[in-house]
Symmetry: D3
Subunit: 174 residues, 6 copies
Amino acid sequence: MVLRGLFVGRFQPPHKGHLEIIRKILNEVDELIIIIGSAQYNYTLRNPFTTGERIWMLREALREYDIDLSRIIIVPLNDIENNALWVRYVQTHTPPFSIVYTGNEFVAKLFKDMNVEVKMVDMIERDKYSGTRIRELMIKGSDEWKEFVPKSVVKIIEIIRGVERLKIVARTSL
Amino acid sequence: MVLRGLFVGRFQPPHKGHLEIIRKILNEVDELIIIIGSAQYNYTLRNPFTTGERIWMLREALREYDIDLSRIIIVPLNDIENNALWVRYVQTHTPPFSIVYTGNEFVAKLFKDMNVEVKMVDMIERDKYSGTRIRELMIKGSDEWKEFVPKSVVKIIEIIRGVERLKIVARTSL
Amino acid sequence: MVLRGLFVGRFQPPHKGHLEIIRKILNEVDELIIIIGSAQYNYTLRNPFTTGERIWMLREALREYDIDLSRIIIVPLNDIENNALWVRYVQTHTPPFSIVYTGNEFVAKLFKDMNVEVKMVDMIERDKYSGTRIRELMIKGSDEWKEFVPKSVVKIIEIIRGVERLKIVARTSL
Amino acid sequence: MVLRGLFVGRFQPPHKGHLEIIRKILNEVDELIIIIGSAQYNYTLRNPFTTGERIWMLREALREYDIDLSRIIIVPLNDIENNALWVRYVQTHTPPFSIVYTGNEFVAKLFKDMNVEVKMVDMIERDKYSGTRIRELMIKGSDEWKEFVPKSVVKIIEIIRGVERLKIVARTSL
Amino acid sequence: MVLRGLFVGRFQPPHKGHLEIIRKILNEVDELIIIIGSAQYNYTLRNPFTTGERIWMLREALREYDIDLSRIIIVPLNDIENNALWVRYVQTHTPPFSIVYTGNEFVAKLFKDMNVEVKMVDMIERDKYSGTRIRELMIKGSDEWKEFVPKSVVKIIEIIRGVERLKIVARTSL
Amino acid sequence: MVLRGLFVGRFQPPHKGHLEIIRKILNEVDELIIIIGSAQYNYTLRNPFTTGERIWMLREALREYDIDLSRIIIVPLNDIENNALWVRYVQTHTPPFSIVYTGNEFVAKLFKDMNVEVKMVDMIERDKYSGTRIRELMIKGSDEWKEFVPKSVVKIIEIIRGVERLKIVARTSL
């Protein structure tokens, strides 16, 4: 019987903290479903990158970390307003899974309330490996963010001129 | 001819202030339509409880206050973005009513602009009986909130472990 | 412990078949949740009446049948596209219930797949007491439909000129 | 005081019947609001053209008929499911108007139920000047449709290769 | 060949800064498409006026400035969450255009990323002619805002009692 | 430079025709994006299986065919009403791709209108390998459908009791 786990993130952008956790979880499960949350948003402060760009970055980063892509199931998912519906919403968009790995207490609560097993995972060095912090460094104009994301992610952000995009978003809005 | 009134709230959770007003309004009308607004939200800071939980709490609280449930029409309603449409939206979801009771100047304005009669009602001791304040007390860990809601509401919040839920929501978010 | 049942219909319009079933179910449960489905539609062939009109008709019909309205919880509910989500969607909009009564095999399937107990109920004389047939009679211009719905429903349909409305809908569309 | 009228259509595509009616209405009002309905659809059998294309065609056709464009207010509008809300929805998207011109009994019913004055207009030679018929001719491969629409509309449909598009839609679907 | 430009705003309300820019752009193009953005919102702090009211104000203001209304194409447009989709969304709602005029760096970025030509325009005296500032003055109760909008806009805001509306919105919310 | 292709289907369920085409396309591209369309629907005649079930079946089928899963990017996608927006919608949900493979003339038209290269592919023995036909056989109660889908798909459909589900859907509806 295949053991499938689930991990949730927004991946704005994928960073080394994500990759380390994913690597660890893969020691415990056969396949890992990775939910890309808030999939409907992009070109915003909190969600600068499109779902397509996030899938692209995540796959290249996994490859860079020598993670077997065939064991990974990436599923983008829009946010919904009815949070009490969210776990079932996840379940209708994924193959069956039996365990959820998360560092987020709210995500854990939602799954536990629906009787799904949850394992809390510690993000390594959360102050360093944080999407919020990485986006702030980009906006400030510091190149320091490049230390916190895989090289392949740096490369894609350069191709799509992601830092310029985020700076414009930070200065203005529609 | 049946005289129907309408009262609007989010009931997060129903508190004694709500119940006192409802009791008073029932002296003036035959039936009262109670709109549960922001019905699409739950597990958030402003809207911790689901629509189903709010209907449940409200009914038990009305019973506790010996209010005849057969005179009450509870109608959950999602928020809509087009506020100028909202009154008509209410009307398509309710039996005919001829008077709106509200303590909210904005609700009053919307109904008046559509030529519906409005009676302003004073929430008793608004500083005490306030959903916002009750939720803040829950988050702080004080049991003081139990004084401000009917006993039956306290009981349901305990059954659904609502305080724990709200604390988690306050600490994190999806 | 309160035993709550659930019954689902569109009530376009409420007819004697509905009322008979509701009466029977109330012999088995303390409270009955009645879902008014397809709540977002009106002024269409299949759904001529608004949610508000349906709540109104249903309440008056229940009264006419001497059914205790305080034991009834009417909840209007929009259809959603993701049917596999629907049971959970119902649950977030209702107080807890432990048994579903339905004559519809599809509704039964959805609840069973989510491990909710289902009791199949037989609509009495389904060929007579059927919303579809009642609407067809209205469109044809026959008054025969009045035999199949409670008197209070006839009266409301006259007040809102529902037959005229349905005939126009049948002849044209937006 | 400015007298404003309102006329509703889908304009798939605008045809000579539309133009004749618009010309007549303009003898009675100062300004005419033209609603382009079903604005959210395109590349379908019933709605092959985008809202942008319909605005474009309608404006060029009005010009061809020497109608003063400054007296015309074109407003695209998505369909909504709650038809009982539709008139108010129109009103929140248009300058104030006092009279509705329509050949559609259902549109007339909706406005009358909201106490808006309605004048029924006769489409001239409805069997000839009909969007449905024009689209059928296009699909059949007959050039006869060109007689029923203004020259400027023929020209735009050629630029956007609209007939080819409609034929493909008729043969397949997403 | 007709040269069409595009200009985007929320027009809450239309002010002299808007009108001056529109006048200038019309020296460079044959027709100007004016997008009224955030069309789904009204009766809010940022968007007090309905789309219909904004169309009305904008047309009267253009007339007051002796701008030929037949060269103007006003198109209301809802906001969407997927910003990367927005330019294409605009294109499906408008006749073809070849140049975008904007003072907003974010709008410029979105169009440039889709290879549409953009000309940055300077809002004259941006500190004076700003919707945000005009709404703040209205809320404060100062009449100074009347200097910053065309007379015809002042008149419409008086007819719809827009200042009272905005003050109520500022004091309360649904 | 990585060459990425795109293929679109609803996969209700994945059948041998799909697998043969995917195998062929993989001779021409490095990576293949597979869009699972109509992702929002399930438990319907045309779309009996959830998105999660379709992802699951598709992955197991690809494995059965010895196709390298790490070269496949599965992306579920909801239908949208504005078809003219659809290609851009796809692009915001996928890594960059340069060629679309499809047997559907309408899909081809949409991509060509947006200047994306399209290669028409022939479904092998379309009369045999067709989702519609497979679902019809399931409903009829014939086991013949099992010949047309990979063994791993048969197995999953048995686990989820998919044939029973489809039969119920065919007999009734919500």
